[in-house]
């Protein structure tokens, strides 16, 4: 039986959507009708621009796919964004047109259609992010299934090596740039303004735009399969030169896709930073912020400082390919290893970009479900900042066998190992938070506990790889594949699941099915370990990574790994079924099913359109479970305070 979930507030009449356009004017208003004709137009424009310029310069041939791909992947997405209405407000403002009344017609969702518009409501954007990223998670997961099918037996069975190289390259790129990073951005988008007691993000229009860059990035990367002569980019997500320069044209789709994903990341991170710094409710000092907010503060700083480096590294490859520059061409004074330095200067911090928000989610969930204050709150926050700073000093540990100058290896090893200290502080503090708690094993808590244990395994295998002598043996083998999946699957993905289950009632107003949630957890937990743990062994024994074919002695373990990975893939179906069915017809959840103290749980589920009827007054720590009379915030002004006083007096 479906129960209607009521939104707590209707739109104010002044915020009503504009009257629908009629006739031909419907084609010029922001929206999908305008997209329908602007996209082919911008496609044609980009093509003409390239061919015209080449004709004017006397280049031959006129139809040069590499150059066209660059033009298309810049111009068509811009046309799409403009047509959808991503720039409308700024265009009006810049062109000096009579300022439109500052309405909120693009804010909030009344019907499902509002999720397909440029929407400025952070709650809508958060859900847009999550649904989109889960789509790409499914696509990238399917690619992993194809890979495991090929790897089940030694020799070549289903795909050729070019397809296989494409599969793992696109799998990793989508998982990193279109799933883990933006899924955390989506959860943060939904939760952070609520946790801070803010009505929205600091820059709602920028927020809307940053979401719409994502599907662009994902579609560019996926459509690389359609590029003639060679198909998808197949040099790994690391895209090392000179292989990347030598690759067929599909490789450009990685270089250009990353730009859009990176731009989206940077915009969101700036938005988070300004929101966290300037939009905290009265009384919300930094030392009263929930740890998820701290985590996103650290993450956003990393994103803003590091992401330009990956953008640069891919632009340089694009220039080498299209403009025939020689950044990475040793015959013309370029430097092959320089690419790896630039790339990892982003991509190591990216590991923390993919992990710190998960730390934040784990802190929220463990505290609430153990019914205890988080242990060592200040050290927890400070260790996030320590990881942020140290995270910039370890990049070359990915390059211990690369042939860079050998002295760098020792300092990089030391900093790498030292990062274990703040990370260890966090793990020990989570364990101490469980101590003398009243632990409830709802699905979010199961995933959070699964995260703590699995992430420790990933962290410890990181110690092996951090030690230069062991890394010389283990680098570029399946040991590394096992390590990154313990960190990014056992770490990031487990916390993403924890976060989705935890805030699902807040986002939808409905409960997910607890039994299915638990089935999902146990299938994932067992499937994950049987899939990835044996990879440590095959790697140390001598199986390199990124191979479609391998020595026959690894056949049996690879078969076990493949079978387990299919189970792991199937467990995702339980999750999707649970989410879809519960979203449509789950039991109403009420405002605070977890009896949590943070601010997002003090408003209705889903929250009112501007989150709070009155800005809350924060009066204490967000984790005061078991402390009599302690409060995190006073909502609805005097009324709550009066009630409180009456209670005490009674």
């Amino acid at each position: 039986m479906a129960v209607e979930i009521e939104h707590a507030t209707e739109h104010h009449p002044a915020h009503a959507p504009p009257p629908p356009r009629r006739g031909l004017r419907r084609l010029t208003g922001a929206g999908w009708l305008r997209v329908l004709w602007v996209m082919p137009l911008s496609f044609g424009l980009a093509t003409l621009l390239v061919i015209g310029a080449r004709a004017a310069m006397g280049f031959d041939p006129l139809w040069e796919l590499q150059v066209l791909i660059v033009a298309w992947t810049v111009v068509v997405p811009l046309g799409f964004l403009a047509a959808l209405g991503g720039f409308d407000y700024w265009a009006y403002w810049i062109s000096g047109k009579p300022t439109r009344p500052e309405d909120h017609s693009g804010h909030g969702a009344r019907t499902w259609k509002d999720y397909f518009r440029v929407n400025t409501d952070h709650k809508v954007i958060g859900i847009q992010y999550l649904v989109t990223t889960i789509f790409f998670f499914g696509a990238a997961g399917l690619m992993a299934m194809f890979m495991r099918a090929e790897l089940a037996r030694p020799g070549m069975q289903y795909v050729d090596t070019n397809t296989f190289n494409g599969l793992f390259s696109v799998h990793a790129s989508l998982m990193i740039f279109l799933f883990i990073i933006p899924a955390f951005a989506g959860l943060g988008n939904y939760v952070i303004p609520l946790m801070l007691g803010a009505p929205d993000m600091a820059f709602p229009r920028l927020n809307a735009l940053s979401f719409w860059l994502l599907p662009i990035a994902g579609l560019i990367m996926m459509s690389s399969y359609l590029v003639p002569d060679g198909g998808a980019f197949a040099a790994g997500w690391t895209n090392y030169v000179p292989l990347a320069v030598q690759q067929p044209d599909g490789n450009l789709m990685f270089q250009m896709g990353v730009q859009w994903a990176g731009a989206s990341s940077i915009m969101t991170a700036l938005n988070f930073l300004v929101t966290i710094i300037t939009m905290r409710a009265p009384g919300m000092s930094f030392w009263r912020m929930p740890l998820l907010v701290w985590a996103n503060f650290a993450t956003s700083t990393l994103v803003v400082l590091a992401t330009p480096f990956v953008a640069g590294s891919q632009f340089f490859i694009m220039f080498d390919r299209v403009l025939h520059t020689n950044f990475f061409n040793p015959e013309m004074g370029g430097d092959v290893i320089a690419y790896q330095h630039i790339f990892w200067f982003y991509s190591h911090p990216a590991v923390y970009i993919m992990m710190l928000p998960g730390f934040g989610i784990a802190s929220e969930v463990i505290s609430v479900f153990a019914r205890k204050p988080i242990f060592g709150y200040r050290l927890m926050a400070l260790s996030l900042m320590a990881i942020l700073i140290l995270g910039f000093s370890v990049w070359a540990h990915h390059m211990f066998v690369s042939g860079m100058q050998s002295w760098i290896r020792i300092p990089m090893m030391v900093t790498t190992l030292v990062i274990a200290v703040p990370t260890g502080i966090k793990v020990f503090s989570w364990l101490a938070t469980l101590w003398e708690g009243r632990i409830r094993f709802a699905t979010p808590m199961l995933f959070a506990l699964g995260f703590v244990t699995m992430f420790v395994i990933g962290g410890l295998s990181g110690i092996y790889l951090g030690s230069v002598p062991v890394d010389i043996h283990a680098s570029d083998t399946y040991f590394v594949v096992a390590h990154i999946h313990y960190v990014l699957f056992g770490g990031s993905l487990f916390t993403i699941f924890a976060g989705i289950y935890y805030w699902f009632p807040k986002m939808t107003g409905r409960m997910y099915d607890e039994r299915l949630g638990k089935i999902h957890f146990w299938l994932t937990f067992v499937g994950f370990n049987v899939t990835f743990f044996p990879m440590h062994w095959v790697g140390l024994q001598g199986m390199p990574r990124r191979v479609a074919d391998y020595a026959p002695e690894f056949g049996n373990w690879n078969l076990v790994i493949s079978i387990a990975s299919f189970g792991l893939g199937a467990s995702t179906l339980v999750f999707l079924y649970n989410m879809i069915v519960s979203w449509r017809a789950g039991a109403p959840a009420g405002p605070n099913p977890w009896r949590a103290l943070t601010l997002e749980w003090q408003v209705s589920s889903p929250p009112p359109i501007f989150n709070f009827h009155e800005i809350p007054q924060v009066v204490g720590s967000p984790y005061e479970y078991g402390v009599r009379g302690a409060r995190h915030a006073v909502l609805n002004g005097d009324r709550a305070a009066v009630e409180e006083r009456e209670k005490v007096e009674a």
Binding site: P373, L434, Q541, P544
Partner: protein, 338 residues
Amino acid sequence: MRKRSIIQMTLVGVVVGLALAAVAFFIPWLPDAASEQADIIDSVYWVVTVICVAIFALVAGVAVYAVWKFRAAPDDMDDGSPIHGHTGLEIVWTLVPTVLVTFIAVYSGVALAQAEDLPDDHRVVEVTGEQFAWTFTYPDVELENGEPLASGELVLPVGEPVEFLITSKDVIHSFWVPEWRMKQDAVRGVTTRTVVEPSKVGTFEVICTELCGLGHAVMRSRARVLSAGDFSAWVEEQRRLAAEGGSVQGEALFSAQCASCHVLEEAGSQGQVGPNLDESLEGAEEDFVRESIVEPNATIAEGFQPDVMPQNYGELFTDEQIDGLVEYLLEATGGGGR
């Protein structure tokens, strides 16, 4: 009360630790150690393993104990104890890991210096990677034609330290023999180096571990470690074959360059990467054999991919060598009207 819980928790930790130790020590995690460097690296591996097993036992012990001991009954709506922190404990779990990682760093640094230590009296072997083959050149072994000895398989005497000078002709490759533990990327435009002192006689695989294109998975070669006497004999044999020319030289070239990828009954080779030459060259003409060597993409046998076999044998080998190889293959497969 407090004492009892600590004892219980320690028990859980010890059980987990013992189980882990059994997994860590009774399963052979590392391949045979066949170089001095392998012994050094393995000692670091074991130091790290002991520390990691202890840490994971601690974490798992506390987690399992807490989950079991502090679980709430379904109708229990109470909160836990309002413990906010414990400065002493926090200092301990900051300092102890700091000491442990410092120890690992120092131990690793010393081990690295030992592994890469190179006595003045050592052999040099130049390693060249290309899509998708390795060439090993011995600059101190000069052939009759003035060229240094070059081979597609790596042959070394046991117990003699070797400095590998490594480079690449195209993309990045990585030179690795798992039993030696040492690995080093081959980078175009750069000469990188690594040191290995083989300590066991035997045959090992040379594996490329850096993604280098379509044939990455099959970019493998052989490393044979011989006794000093056998090695000298091998060098002399190479000298003799190079001097002799014709199909004798072709046979040597085949076993060095082709055998790891192709089946050929005459040579006793078992490589599965490329087509079986007994079948695909059966009754073939001389021109076809030559073309298949210098321009392998011209004809691709059914079930195989283009671009996997190196494209540059025409430049890599002298005309004389190719003539010899063609002659040898025609003899071996009964082609060319023989």
